[in-house]
């Protein structure tokens, strides 16, 4: 999540940011400059409450070229891909697609290291390996070891209720899930 001084200064600007994004989006990118900040996207968004910038604000930041605030925002990772914004946008901006592309851009550059991004990456890693979600594995990947003792009590409670397992849990169809990942990756390489 961004912490910033609520002041945009010249050093935060990347004049090519919007152009780069538009290029990546292809035909859909042409709609980006049409955004007139009506707020229907953010009004429709089921997760806007948890975001540091609302989707509309992300659009404004894109147009101003404030690249770091956009790619460091929690917004792009929290997007639930429900498409409400894309469906309702009066100007036909496909915000869901914009969010996806921003995610790709943030992943390309290790400089962007917000917690939401790390969660996103580790989550995918775990699913790819186990074919399903494994809370303990995710915890180990995500959190520093020093936190284990602090959270032990809470972990125990979860264990007693059967919410987590100590032994690694793997899906029966883990190999098939892995194949899906391979296929998707191959497709991505192909597209590039």
């Amino acid at each position: 999540m961004n912490t910033w001084s609520r002041k945009i200064t010249p050093d935060m600007m990347d004049p090519n940011f919007e152009t780069t994004l538009r290029k990546k989006l292809g035909e859909k990118g042409e709609k980006i400059p049409l955004c007139f900040q009506c707020g229907v996207c953010s009004g429709s968004c089921p997760v806007a409450f948890a975001m540091d910038f609302t989707p509309r604000q992300i659009m404004e930041l894109i147009k101003l070229g404030v690249k770091d605030l956009v790619l460091n925002s929690s917004t792009i990772w929290l997007c639930a891909a429900c498409y409400s914004c894309s469906v309702r946008c009066p100007q036909g901006v496909d915000l869901k697609q914009v969010m996806d592309t921003l995610k790709e851009m943030a992943l390309e550059d290790p400089k962007y290291s917000v917690a939401e991004k790390a969660f996103y990456e580790k989550f995918i890693e775990v699913v790819r390996k186990n074919g399903r979600m494994d809370e303990v594995a995710l915890y180990v990947k995500l959190m520093p070891k020093s936190t284990i003792m602090r959270n032990l009590g809470f972990g125990l409670k979860l264990y007693q209720k059967g919410k987590i397992h100590l032994s690694p849990t793997k899906s029966n169809s883990a190999d098939q899930v892995a194949k899906i990942f391979e296929k998707v990756l191959a497709k991505e390489v192909q597209q590039q």
Partner: protein
């Protein structure tokens, strides 16, 4: 007779203060012109259109005894009449002037001085050679009908009618509804002054209803318009009223007895009921009842007629029939008004799913009915006004801003607060547009009165028991806002009223992408239609408020009376005519004439000069070459072709350009300072179908290397755009096929159709030049073949 005299031509070339002379070497053009056959004198001037320039022309005419004038300067669309007047002042017929364009079509579109000068010389040469064959022509005058039909009886139509009637014109005020009054009669009060809408309009309705020069025709719509400017024949389809207007005392006895009591009341925007026989509203003009056959028991089931028994005056007539009536008028004013968009396709607003979600038009009626919630008739405490429902949404509904909704919402919020001081109006807006006299001040008043404003377009409206939940982003906070309301008002987009496009087509008025009528010139002819004598006013042209509608109504009335006031209309003498000695009466021309102006009498074709529009389509199709066109005769056209095709420009491409749209598009191309190669030389023709194979062959024979046809994309004299384009393309490909027989590469002939907004399509000129450069060479053999055919 001037035409029989030896031509004495004066050529006048304009610098246009550098606009021309910065690129074209004007002195060189003058020198070349002075050596052209028949030229007695050639002059240049810094501004030919100035008094000194015009005096130079007039003095030269007198001094040298000129009988033809060639003017090379800006587009004739600008100053043709200025220069024609100079001829008239010296006693010459204005048609002995030929004006050519070396600014928009030369200096503004080229950069290389040498070739631009070469092209200017070619243009002037074409004009000089054409001038040899110019003939004096006299315009004809026809009387006009001193009457006007106003279509649409809303505030615009009423004011246009009153204005015209007070000037002494006979006015036919036509409305398809049973009463005049229009949308304004449905409104509560009008912003920003808060005048009661009915109170200010009803007296004008009475005035127009009683005016001796106005005939109101209700339940009527125009279905056909024929004739010409000043003498239009409008056919109306008049629906039966089933009530004799002159006999009805509007006592209401009929309605009391009518068993059909649950018909949605249009005037109340569906928020109340009426009977099947009804008075549209208390102030209706004409003040008479009407039967709605779609809901009348008698018309639906065949029995009832209770109303007829109740009417003591016998005013009800079930045998009334629909009829057609044709009325001759001099001018037509379209004031067809607006409709309110149905918001139900935009699902997120849940319109129709809760009785307390209403449109802003329905809210007007609620204000007049006592301002209670439709569902439980309680006082609504929290009321949300949602702006931009369907407006400013190119991807979802209408692209345009409906313009008045901001002010309507402000007014409604204000009136609500006035009605119920404890109520809480919230206005959700995208951008507050309060531009207008006293509008910003009204916005301030609303804030003073405690109207709440949230900047954000509402994302969701959800019925929630008896209340309604709204969700939006307060974009100024960057936070979501969720709130419950008792009543939700949707400020829906305003649409052109149903049938606007159709009625526009009857009178040659197109509609824009927004569906509203297109004015002739957006800024300078804002209420004129494309046809002379056709005007439009009010919301037919776009959403607007009462004040603006009245202004436009008065403008349209003024334009109509300016047109009709002279009592006569000048008819251009540029018409086709038959050379009787050559005509064998085969009748081929008849099938080509778009205006049915041709007929056969006594074994010869004859042309009705009233119907003929001078398009010249009949000229090249005549197998006997027995038809010609005044001011664009075969001799004149061929002289232009030979004139421009000589000289040193290689390759040289003749652009036969349709005179209304095509020529102006080329003007706009120049105005925009876009560039194309100087190898293209434009010859103005009434339509490209005036040009046949013969002319193209002559062009090649004269030295041209290619031909391009520039046509108007949507000016097909009554044909649909598709059919028109098909004919155009067919005409050009026919010429291409014929040329192949001579061994001429089809790539040397191209076609382009343009509209004024798409004038940039002329960038195809680059392609044209490249294609001609890359075409198979014009062999001597082909040239000899062409020459052979032309001389036989």
């Amino acid at each position: 007779m001037v035409s029989s005299e030896e031509p004495r031509i004066g050529v006048f070339i304009c610098h246009c203060g550098g606009n021309i002379s910065d690129v074209v070497d004007v002195e060189k053009v003058r020198e070349a012109a002075s050596k052209m056959p028949g030229v007695v004198v050639a002059e240049t001037n810094r501004y030919m259109c100035s008094k000194t320039g015009l005096d130079l022309i007039k003095d030269s005419i007198k001094k040298y005894g000129l009988n033809r004038v060639v003017e090379a300067s800006c587009t004739p669309r600008m100053h043709l009449n200025t220069f024609r007047r100079a001829l008239v002042d010296t006693g010459l017929n204005p048609y002995l002037l030929d004006m050519v364009n070396i600014r928009e079509h030369c200096s503004w579109v080229h950069t290389d001085k040498d070739t631009a000068t070469e092209k200017a010389i070619a243009i002037v040469r074409g004009s000089v050679m054409r001038a040899h064959h110019l003939e004096p022509l006299q315009p004809e005058y026809r009387p006009v009908e001193r009457s006007v039909m106003v279509v649409g009886g809303g505030v615009s139509g009423i004011f246009a009618s009153l204005e015209l009637a007070n000037k002494g014109y006979q006015v036919y005020l036509v409305d398809r509804k049973p009463s005049i009054g229009g949308r304004m009669m449905q409104l509560s009060k009008t912003f920003p002054t808060l005048d009661c809408s009915t109170c200010i309009l009803a007296p004008r309705m009475v005035e127009v209803g009683q005016h001796p020069n106005v005939k109101i025709i209700t339940l009527a719509e125009p279905v056909k318009v024929s004739g010409s400017p000043g003498n239009y024949d409008v056919t109306l389809r008049i629906k039966p009223r089933y009530v004799d207007v002159s006999n009805c005392a509007s006592c209401g006895d009929c309605a009391k007895k009518c068993p059909m009591k649950r018909v949605p009341n249009e005037h109340e925007a569906g928020l109340a009921y009426r009977t099947a026989i009804y008075l549209p509203f208390p102030q209706a003009i004409p003040q008479a009842y009407v039967i709605d056959p779609e809901h009348c028991l008698y018309f639906q089931k065949g029995t009832c007629k209770v109303c007829a028994k109740a009417c003591t005056r016998g005013a009800i007539n079930f045998d009334d029939k629909e009829r057609l009536e044709t009325i001759r008028v001099g001018a037509i004013v379209l004031a067809t008004g607006i409709d309110v968009m149905d918001p139900s396709p935009l699902k997120e607003y849940s319109y129709g799913q809760h009785p307390d979600i209403v449109t802003n038009l329905q809210f007007e009626r609620l204000l007049l009915q006592g301002m209670l919630r439709p569902s439980d008739k309680n006082v609504p405490k929290k009321v949300a006004f949602i702006l931009c429902v369907g407006s400013r949404s190119p991807e979802r509904a209408q692209a345009y801003c409906s313009k008045v909704c901001c002010m309507i919402a402000l007014k409604q919020a204000f009136l609500l607060k006035e009605f119920h001081a404890e109520s809480e109006p919230w206005v959700f807006y995208t951008d507050m547009r309060a531009a207008g006299k006293w509008y910003e001040e009204f916005y301030t008043r609303c804030r003073e009165h405690g109207v709440k404003f949230v900047r954000g377009r509402v994302a969701e409206v959800k019925p929630n028991g008896s209340s309604i939940t709204l969700r939006a982003e307060d974009t100024l906070l960057g936070a979501q806002i969720e709130e419950n309301f008792d009543l939700v008002v949707l400020s829906t987009a305003l649409l052109p009223s149903i049938g606007t496009k159709e009625v526009g087509q009857l009178v040659g008025m197109d509609t824009g992408p927004d569906g509203f009528l297109l004015e002739k010139h957006y800024k300078l002819e804002p209420v004129d239609g494309a046809w002379t004598g056709v005007y439009a006013a009010g919301c037919a042209l776009g959403p607007k408020d009462v004040r603006e509608s009245v202004v436009e109504a008065m403008s349209a009335a003024s334009r109509a009376s300016t047109f009709l006031g002279g009592g006569k209309i000048e008819v251009s003498p540029e018409k086709a005519f038959v050379i009787e000695d050559l005509c064998d009466g085969c009748g081929v021309c008849l099938q080509y004439c778009p205006k049915n102006a041709l007929s056969i009498s006594n074994g010869k074709a004859t042309i009705n000069p009233v119907s003929c529009i001078g398009c010249g389509i009949c000229v090249p199709v005549c197998p006997k070459q027995a038809i010609d066109l005044k001011h664009n005769t075969e001799k004149q056209l061929l002289a232009s072709i030979y004139g421009v095709s000589q000289g040193n420009l290689k390759p040289l491409i003749v652009a036969f350009t349709e005179k209304v749209v095509g020529y102006r598009a080329a003007d706009m191309y120049g105005l925009d300072r876009r560039k194309y190669p100087p190898n293209i030389v434009i010859i103005e023709v009434p339509t490209t179908r005036r040009v046949g194979l013969k002319h193209v062959l002559h062009a090649f024979n004269a030295g041209a290397d290619g031909v391009v046809f520039v046509e108007a994309e949507d000016n097909w004299y009554g044909l649909s755009k598709e059919d028109g384009l098909k004919q155009f393309r067919g005409h050009v490909s026919q010429i291409q096929r014929e040329l192949r027989k001579f061994g001429v590469d089809a790539a040397r002939v191209m076609a382009v159709a343009v509209t004024l907004p798409q004038y940039y399509k002329l960038e195809i000129f680059d392609t044209v030049v490249n294609r001609v450069k890359g075409a198979k060479p014009l062999t001597d053999d082909a040239k000899a073949k062409i020459k052979g055919v032309l001389s036989s």
